[in-house]
C-alpha cells in the first residue's frame, strides 16, 4: 500500500495571505488604525456638538430644501426656489462644462505651442519659451484676476472690438458664431456623426494599415463618410446654419455668447494649461532618441511617416500620462472660479454653506465630486500605463 504525497493548496490560504499583507508589527499597526478612527470619531463628535450649538442638524436633509439664491449662468436649468441638490448639480454641470472645454482647447493650443517650440525657427521658439516661462512662474489666480480685469475693461457692446465682423469682444461677454441645427434632435445627429467617425476610423485601419499615403486616403474616406452622413440627415429634415452675432441697439444678439466670468476662467485655464502641455509635448518628442529618427530615415520613410509610425507611438508613452495629469490639474484649478464669480461647484457649495451653515456637508460634497473624478481617471490611466509598459520595454 503506497501513500501518495498529496499536493498542497496552490497558494497560501486566506489567513496566511492576510498575515503577509499586514506584514510585521501587526499589533502596533492595528493600534494605529484604531487611533486614527478614534481621532476622526472625536473630531466628528466635536463638529456635531458645535453644529447643534449653532442650531444645525448634521446631515444631508438640507439638500431637498429650497435654495433662495440665483446662479449667474447654468447649463442645467435652475432658478431661485429650486432645491439645494439642484443648485449643486448645476454647479457640477458648470464645472464639467469649463473643464471639458478647457481640456480640449488647452490640448489644441498646447500641442501647437509644443510643435512651435520644436520648429527650428529661433524667433518662434524663443517667443514660445518666453510665454511658457511667464505663465509657469506667476500664480494662476493672478492670471485669472488679470484676465478678468482685461475682459471687464473691454468697451461696452456698442463699441465692442470685432474681428471679421463675426467675433465680438465686449465687457458684457464674448460673442462667437455658432452652428445652429434644426429638424433633428441633438442626440440623433450627434450619435450619427460619432458612429460614422468611428466606422471611418475602423475602415481606414482595415483598408490601409501600413500602406503609403495613409493620411490622404483616410482623409478622403472621412470626407466621404461625413458627406454620406450629411445627405442621410438632410433627408430626415436636418438643416444646419451658421449664426453670426450682430450688434443690435445696446446689445449683441445671436451666436454663441460667453459671459465675462466664463470667458475669463476659460481663457485663463486654457492659457495656463497650454504652457505645461507644450512642455509635455516637447519633452515627449525629444525623449525619442535621435537614433530612431536616423534609423527610420535610413529605411526610407518620409518625415510624416517617421513621425506617425516611429516617433509618436514612442513619444505618446511619455506624453499620455502627463497629459492626463495636466487635465486633472486643469479640472481642479477650475475651482478658482469662486474667486472670479463663475458659479462652479465650489462656488455654489460655498454659497450653500453660507446660507445654510452646513459647511461640513458642502465640503464633503466638493471632496466627493473631485475625488470621484480624480480617482476614476487615474485608475483608467494605470490600466493604460500597464498596457504600454508591457508592450514596450517591460517593467522598469
Amino acid at each position: 500500500m503506497t501513500r501518495f504525497l498529496q499536493p498542497g493548496p496552490s497558494g497560501p490560504g486566506p489567513v496566511l495571505r492576510l498575515r503577509t499583507w499586514i506584514g510585521p508589527l501587526p499589533l502596533q499597526q492595528s493600534l494605529l488604525f484604531v487611533g486614527v478612527l478614534l481621532l476622526f470619531a472625536v473630531l466628528g463628535q466635536n463638529t456635531a456638538d458645535s453644529m447643534h450649538r449653532m442650531g444645525l442638524t448634521p446631515g444631508f436633509a438640507f439638500l431637498s430644501h429650497q435654495a433662495n439664491f440665483e446662479i449667474g449662468e447654468s447649463v442645467l436649468s435652475y432658478s431661485a426656489g429650486d432645491s439645494y441638490a439642484r443648485a449643486l448639480a448645476a454647479g457640477v454641470a458648470n464645472t464639467v462644462k469649463v473643464a471639458v472645454a478647457g481640456c480640449l482647447l488647452a490640448t489644441v493650443l498646447g500641442v501647437a505651442l509644443g510643435i512651435a517650440r520644436l520648429s527650428g525657427n529661433l524667433l518662434l521658439a524663443s517667443f514660445v519659451h518666453g510665454y511658457v516661462e511667464f505663465l509657469r512662474n506667476t500664480p494662476l489666480l493672478l492670471q485669472l484676476f488679470l484676465w478678468s480685469a482685461i475682459i471687464h475693461a473691454l468697451p461696452p457692446p456698442r463699441g465692442a472690438y470685432t474681428f471679421l465682423g463675426s467675433v465680438y469682444l465686449s465687457n458684457r461677454g464674448i460673442y462667437l458664431p455658432s452652428l445652429s441645427i434644426e429638424g433633428v434632435p441633438t442626440i440623433v445627429w450627434l450619435s450619427t456623426v460619432v458612429l460614422a467617425v468611428l466606422a471611418a476610423v475602423l475602415l481606414c485601419r482595415q483598408l490601409f494599415a501600413g500602406s503609403a499615403f495613409y493620411l490622404p486616403k483616410s482623409a478622403g474616406v472621412a470626407l466621404a463618410v461625413l458627406a454620406l452622413c450629411y445627405l442621410a440627415l438632410t433627408s430626415l429634415g436636418f438643416a444646419a446654419s451658421v449664426e453670426i452675432p450682430a450688434k443690435g441697439g445696446f446689445n449683441i444678439r445671436g451666436g454663441l455668447s460667453l459671459t465675462p466670468e466664463f470667458a475669463a476662467l476659460l481663457v485663463g485655464l486654457v492659457v495656463n494649461a497650454s504652457a505645461s502641455i507644450s512642455e509635455i509635448v516637447r519633452s515627449g518628442i525629444q525623449s525619442v532618441k535621435s537614433g530612431q529618427w536616423e534609423a527610420a530615415r535610413a529605411l526610407g520613410l518620409r518625415p510624416a511617416q517617421i513621425l506617425r509610425l516611429v516617433v509618436l507611438p514612442q513619444a505618446l508613452r511619455v506624453i499620455a500620462p502627463l497629459m492626463i495629469s495636466s487635465f486633472l490639474d486643469l479640472t481642479k484649478n477650475s475651482s478658482l472660479a469662486v474667486a472670479i464669480g463663475y458659479p462652479d461647484l465650489v462656488s455654489v457649495a460655498n454659497t450653500t454653506a453660507n446660507t445654510t451653515g452646513q459647511a461640513l456637508e458642502a465640503i464633503i460634497i466638493i471632496g466627493a465630486v473631485y475625488l470621484t473624478i480624480s480617482l476614476s481617471v487615474s485608475s483608467v490611466m494605470n490600466v493604460y500605463n500597464r498596457r504600454v509598459v508591457l508592450r514596450g520595454e517591460g517593467k522598469r
Binding site: 506584514g23 458645535s50 527650428g120 525657427n121 521658439a125 493672478l142 481642479k332 484649478n333 465650489v346
Partner: protein, 357 residues
C-alpha cells in the same frame, strides 16, 4: 542635431541666427509672421506701459484721457502691497524678516553650505520671524490679522515646505513599507489630498477645524491656513520623495543589510542620501509650486502678496488700477519663481555632473 553641433562647434552667432531664422523660404515666412504677431501684440502694450505711462504724480494725472499705465500708483501704494495692513510705523519688522529670509535662502541655496546644521538654523529663523512680526516682550504686539503681503507669502511657503518635509518622508516610507495597514493609511491620505483642489483643504482649515476643536479651544486663522498648506503639500512632497526612493537600486539595500546595518541605519546612511539627492531639483520645483499656490490664501481672506495688491486698487484715492497692481504682483512672483526654476536647472546639471564623475 548633435551632429550639427559636432560639425561646427564654434559657429559664429550671426551664422546660428541666420540658420535659425532664414534657412529656406518656409522658415523665413514663419519668422516674418512671428515678428508681425509680436509687434502687433507688443506695440500697443509698449505704448500703454512705457510711452503713455504716468511714472510720477497723483491719481489726477492718471485719470487723464491719454494716460496709459499708472506706475505712480505702484509707487504710492508700494508699502501697502508689500506689507498690507501691518501698522506703517512698525513696517521695518516685516521688511527685516523678508531681508533676513531672502539672505538665508541665498546662503542655503549654495551646495557648499549644505549640512544638517541648516535645519536648526531655519527652524530658529522661522521662530524668530514669528516673534519679530508678532512683537513679543519689549516690542509692540501686532495681531496676525494685520500681517500681510510679501512676508506672508514667503513665510507660509517656507514653513509649509519645512514642516511638510518630515511628514512627507514618513508618508513616503509608509507607502513603500511592507506593513499593509500602515501602507493603506498612507495611500488614503496621499490620494485624498492630491485628489481634491487646494481650495477645499483651505475651506476645511477655515470652516471645519474651528468646529472640530473641543469647545473653547481656538487656533489662529493664519496658523490654520498654514497647517492646511503644510498637509496639502506633504502629500505632493511624499510622491516626489517616493520617486527618489524608487531610484535607489535594490542592490544597495541588500549590500547594506549584508553588512549588518539595522533598518534605521540602512535608511539614514544608505537609502535616504541617495534618494533625496536624486529629487532635490524636483523638490525645488515643488517649492516654486508652493509659492505660487499660497496666492490661494487670498480666497479665504488672508492678505498675502496677491490679495494685498488686489486690495490696494480699492483705495478710494487710487480706485481701480487693478492691471497695474496685478502686473506689480506678477513681477514679484516672477522674480522669485524664475530665479528658483533657473536654480533648479543649475542644480540638476551640477548634481548630474557629480554623479557621472
Amino acid at each position: 542635431m548633435s551632429q550639427i553641433e559636432l560639425a561646427s562647434p564654434v559657429a559664429p552667432d550671426w551664422h546660428r541666427w541666420r540658420q535659425g531664422l532664414f534657412n529656406g523660404w518656409g522658415n523665413g515666412l514663419v519668422t516674418l509672421g512671428t515678428l508681425a504677431t509680436i509687434l502687433w501684440l507688443a506695440l500697443p502694450l509698449f505704448r500703454w506701459a512705457v510711452i503713455d505711462a504716468v511714472w510720477f504724480g497723483t491719481s489726477a494725472d492718471c485719470a487723464e484721457e491719454t494716460a496709459g499705465a499708472c506706475w505712480a500708483f505702484v509707487g504710492a501704494k508700494l508699502r501697502f502691497m508689500l506689507f498690507a495692513f501691518f501698522p506703517p510705523p512698525l513696517q521695518w519688522r516685516p521688511a527685516l524678516v523678508v531681508a533676513f529670509i531672502l539672505t538665508l535662502l541665498a546662503v542655503s541655496a549654495l551646495p557648499r553650505f549644505w549640512s544638517f546644521r541648516l535645519v536648526p538654523v531655519w527652524l530658529l529663523a522661522l521662530l524668530g520671524s514669528w516673534l519679530i512680526m508678532a512683537g513679543t516682550g519689549a516690542m509692540e504686539p501686532v495681531s496676525t490679522n494685520h500681517w500681510g503681503g510679501l512676508p506672508i507669502t514667503l513665510t507660509v511657503s517656507i514653513a509649509g515646505l519645512a514642516f511638510a518635509f518630515p511628514i512627507a518622508l514618513l508618508l513616503a516610507l509608509a507607502r513603500q513599507s511592507d506593513m499593509g495597514i500602515l501602507r493603506c493609511l498612507a495611500i488614503a491620505f496621499i490620494e485624498v489630498l492630491r485628489g481634491v483642489p487646494m481650495i477645499a483643504i483651505l475651506y476645511v482649515a477655515m470652516l471645519i477645524v474651528p468646529m472640530a476643536l473641543p469647545s473653547g479651544a481656538t487656533i489662529d486663522k493664519l496658523l490654520r491656513a498654514q497647517i492646511g498648506v503644510t498637509l496639502f503639500f506633504s502629500a505632493y512632497l511624499a510622491e516626489v520623495i517616493r520617486a527618489g526612493l524608487q531610484v535607489v537600486p535594490v542592490g544597495q539595500r541588500e549590500a547594506a543589510l549584508s553588512l549588518g546595518l539595522s533598518r534605521i541605519q540602512l535608511l539614514r546612511l544608505v537609502v535616504l542620501p541617495q534618494a533625496l539627492r536624486a529629487v532635490i531639483p524636483a523638490i525645488v520645483n515643488l517649492a516654486i509650486g508652493i509659492v505660487l499656490n499660497t496666492s490661494l490664501l487670498a480666497v479665504i481672506g488672508i492678505y498675502d502678496l496677491l490679495n494685498a495688491a488686489k486690495t490696494s486698487a480699492t483705495d478710494p484715492g487710487w480706485l481701480g488700477f487693478y492691471s497695474e497692481a496685478y502686473i506689480f504682483a506678477a513681477a514679484v512672483y516672477f522674480v522669485i519663481c524664475f530665479t528658483g526654476s533657473r536654480y533648479s536647472l543649475w542644480l540638476e546639471r551640477k548634481l548630474n555632473g557629480a554623479n557621472r564623475r
